[in-house]
């Protein structure tokens, strides 16, 4: 029976409508997966070197022991946010002559098919074989592997259990990360050390390998807990997240924009009331930390704005890029309604510009904390901001008129690539290259501030030309609307 279920699952994966629709998307995704795989393997095989680099005054095995619990704490937070609940797939089987225990077994097995369960093997196993085995021998290596595997399983089912009980909330993820960062800081300043704790745990296991049984027992315990919960609550409406009372809301600050504001408010609700768009939003906030990677002291000292331009464009324009890449498609479920109702297309396009401008402004204000690194970065951000709202919006909306792919916004959020086409991937090229090319000649002539000025000026001129761009996009939209509507009805 289990194999039948799994074969159905495989079929639903390969035969789903959006799958295979665009080979280009598949290939790009394949590359991404491969990239992450190689990264994980690289981390796994280079673990000894990495640990030496980060913790130079410590024995590598001690460091290794120290990071295991950290890794799984991080893993757990990520799982709670991103791992999908395998629930809806069982609906067609519930009324058939199939034993409940079989269905539960299927749900439990299916839950193991998650990328999260793959990473630990790539990251930790090489080290186990390369370092632990020569030092401690085969028995302990096996204990390590079993422990790591059990921790992964433990996390897997605990995360699902928490999600099933609907005691999760996106904000908890933030709290989780804050706690995580807090403990890391405490570790750094040697106040409370989780690393030492983690090391002590595995030291104890090294001394008494049978202690290692704790992990499989814990994993089995949580597995049982999960299975029991499922057995008692095998009703789809109880397994999916709980309904809370919905209330009507009114965004007063948008009312001053009249009809355009009403349309923007409509879209704001769309973003806030769907899981997929909400998680895009949260992703946008995470990208605020992108600057810490790109804004190197050296680059700031040399005024190398060209190098940092990409990060600045990306951070201040993230809301435009992320939300804009599926523009119009977010509304595919009611696109017919928008066309048939008394909505002026020009207002409709203006609302998009308004929403983008608000989003970019908010995120640029948030990103101003980089001013503490160097006030120069604020100038860079202003240039990037003007470019984003002036010209980035135009690029995104123009490309949106070429996007006919339906997006089912009610489908679960993370790692859902429905509605992704080649256009989305190509979007980044003109978007990111234009300002860099504008800056480049001045960068070469060593006139960095002139470069920033030119980028800002370009953005400002485009912003002043917004009336023209609105008409331009509206005309294009009117021409394309049948095609877009047809694609969205699909």
């Amino acid at each position: 029976m289990l194999s039948t279920f799994l074969s159905h699952q495989r079929k639903s994966f390969w035969r789903s409508r959006n799958r295979g629709s665009s080979i280009a998307t598949q290939i790009v995704l394949g590359f991404f997966m491969l990239y992450f795989l190689v990264l994980a393997l690289g981390a796994g095989f280079g673990m000894a070197h990495l640990l030496k680099y980060f913790f130079p005054n410590q024995d590598v095995i001690k460091s290794f022991n120290g990071i295991i619990l950290y890794y799984f704490a991080f893993d757990f937070i990520m799982r709670v946010q991103f791992q999908d609940l395998p629930t809806l797939s069982i609906v067609p089987y519930l009324h058939l002559r199939i034993k409940k225990s079989k269905i539960i077994g299927f749900l439990n097995v299916k839950a193991l098919f998650s990328a999260f369960n793959l990473w630990p093997f790539f990251i930790f196993l090489p080290f186990c074989f390369m370092k632990i085995a020569p030092t401690h021998g085969a028995l302990l290596t096996i204990t390590y592997i079993v422990s790591i595997f059990s921790l992964a399983v433990f996390n897997n089912y605990l995360a699902l259990y928490i999600k099933r009980k609907s005691i999760t909330n996106t904000w908890y993820t933030f709290v989780g990360f804050a706690l995580f960062a807090g403990f890391a800081a405490l570790d750094y300043y040697k106040i409370i050390s989780i690393m030492a704790f983690s090391d002590a745990v595995f030291q104890a296991i090294a001394a008494h390998p049978y202690y290692g049984f704790i992990f499989p027992i814990a994993a089995f315990g949580i597995f049982k807990l999960n299975a029991d919960f499922l057995r008692k609550n095998l009703y789809v409406e109880e397994l999916s997240s709980k309904q809370e009372k919905k209330v009507s809301t009114d965004y007063a600050f948008l009312n001053r924009f009249g009809r355009v504001g009403e349309l923007a408010a409509l879209e704001l609700k769309l973003i806030l009331r769907h899981k997929r768009s909400r998680s895009s939003l949260i992703l946008g906030f995470f990208f605020l930390f992108y600057g810490f990677i790109f804004y190197k002291e050296k680059a700031i000292d040399r005024n190398a704005f060209g190098q940092m331009m990409f990060a600045a464009i990306f951070m201040t324009g993230i809301s435009i890029i992320i939300y804009g890449q599926f523009m119009f498609a977010w509304q595919s479920a009611h696109f017919d309604g928008i066309l048939a109702n008394k909505i002026n297309f020009k207002d409709y396009i203006k609302a998009k510009f308004l929403l983008f401008t608000i989003g970019a402004t908010v995120i640029t204000l948030l990103a101003s904390f980089y001013g503490f690194l160097s006030p120069k970065l604020l100038l860079l951000h202003i240039a990037a901001y003007l470019y984003n709202i002036g010209f980035g919006t135009v690029i995104v909306l123009y490309l949106a008129t070429l996007n006919y792919k339906r997006l089912d916004i009610n489908k679960a959020a993370s790692f859902n690539y429905q509605g992704t086409g080649a256009t989305q991937w190509l979007l980044m090229f003109p978007y990111a290259l234009t300002p860099i090319l504008l800056y480049l000649p001045f960068g070469i002539m060593n006139l960095p501030y002139w470069g920033l000025m030119v980028v800002s000026l370009f953005g400002l001129i485009m912003l002043l030309m917004r009336g023209f761009w609105v008409n331009f996009i509206t005309a294009k939209f009117e021409k394309q609307r049948y095609k877009i509507a047809e694609g969205f009805r699909e």
């Binding site: 919905k246 209330v247 609700k269 696109f335 017919d336 048939a340 008394k342 049948y482 509507a485």
Partner: protein, 230 residues
Amino acid sequence: MILEVKNLKKVYGDKTVVNIEHVQIEQGETVGLVGNNGAGKTTFFRMLLDLIRPSEGEILSKGENVMQSDNWKNYTASFLDEGFLIDYLTPEEYFIFIGGLHDLSVADVSAYLTQYGEFFNGEILNSGKYIRDFSKGNQVKVGIAAALMQKPEILILDEPFANLDPTTQIRLKNLLKAQSGSMTTFISSHDLNHVTDVCNRIILVEKGIVIKDFKTDENTLKELESYFSA
């Protein structure tokens, strides 16, 4: 004459889905579009609402081609399917949004909605749910009420009786009959009883072609039944 269809054709591949030579609709008529699945009813309605580009021909609303001008939106209300609902809004938000498009204030909208207490059967307003969480029948009710709220001169409904409970079907019929005369109504239905009851003109289509176009009288139902059982 409020609506005129001229040489309308829609072709998908080598299949002609709609092929209507000439149809005129007079102001105040209640027209029923009847035909089996695949007759092209929904495609026709979509062209009427400028959602699909016709392969040939044109549709004139008050003499203006619907593709070239937006004026028809001022006096045309429609509900074809759930794709017309903005399903992540609460019903109140949706009504206020649609009302706002026609310059109705929030107070106007709530005044209008009070008459619909019976029609909604107490399940729609203040329910604390988004439209997407409603049953299909209740979603249809929201769509129809929102369409009627616009006080349209032309009303287009695609199979409005499907998914409704018997009580609501009868209420809807009464609502539609009460409006006849002032409003031009265009509905499609598989329910011959209802459609002959409500409409004063029936257009029978098959594979995109108009087979019959006639005024209803006491024999209409029998005629239609014998046509479809043949």
